[in-house]
Symmetry: C2
Subunit: 109 residues, 2 copies
């Protein structure tokens, strides 16, 4: 049974944090942004996104406040915290290191 995932497991938090560096967004907007930037390759399901946001809130990597959208709908806007920025840079460097390592194995050099 091949992979069922719409993204690489372990990369969701990083993608969300990175998306928020471009400004505060509500959950739905985060999902759309990732989907669009990735040309529909990465799809963040609601059942993945909202639990992930709860985790990030708990860790203190993002904060949230209720506002209304441009179209007058209630939505919860998430903003990256200082700790979130630090965490993101950790995850980014770890990720790059891993990709480099995997690439070496795949090239068998």
């Amino acid at each position: 049974m091949a992979r069922k995932t719409d993204l690489l497991p372990g990369t969701l938090d990083m993608l969300i944090l990175k998306t928020l560096t471009r400004g505060s967004l509500h959950g739905y907007g985060i999902a759309l942004s990732i989907k669009n930037l990735s040309d529909d390759i990465l799809t963040v399901e609601e059942g993945s996104l909202y639990p992930a946001l709860q985790r990030l809130l708990l860790q203190g990597w993002v904060k949230a406040e209720w506002k209304s959208t441009e179209t007058n709908r209630r939505a919860r806007y998430y903003t990256l915290t200082a700790a979130g920025r630090t965490q993101l840079s950790h995850e980014l460097s770890q990720f790059e290191q891993m990709i480099a390592a995997i690439t070496r194995v795949l090239q068998g050099a």
Copy 2:
């Protein structure tokens, strides 16, 4: 609680299959090969490796036979099958696509 993984989840099968394209190996040898090629970045724990090999056997992507090593020890040598090669190429292209997509999101372009 940051990541606990020694590799990117979802990449283990691919790494094993790729490693076997360079010839038959026993489990321990596969683990060493991945560890060495990745400069110790990727560590395949035994509790991940052997279950993974059982899965690959079940799927028919590798076959196994008991032999003795150069140092006269009994060991189970795994060999890539034709189906395994096909599977590997699928996983490789999917992986590359994902990395490309993630890179686009991380660069925010």
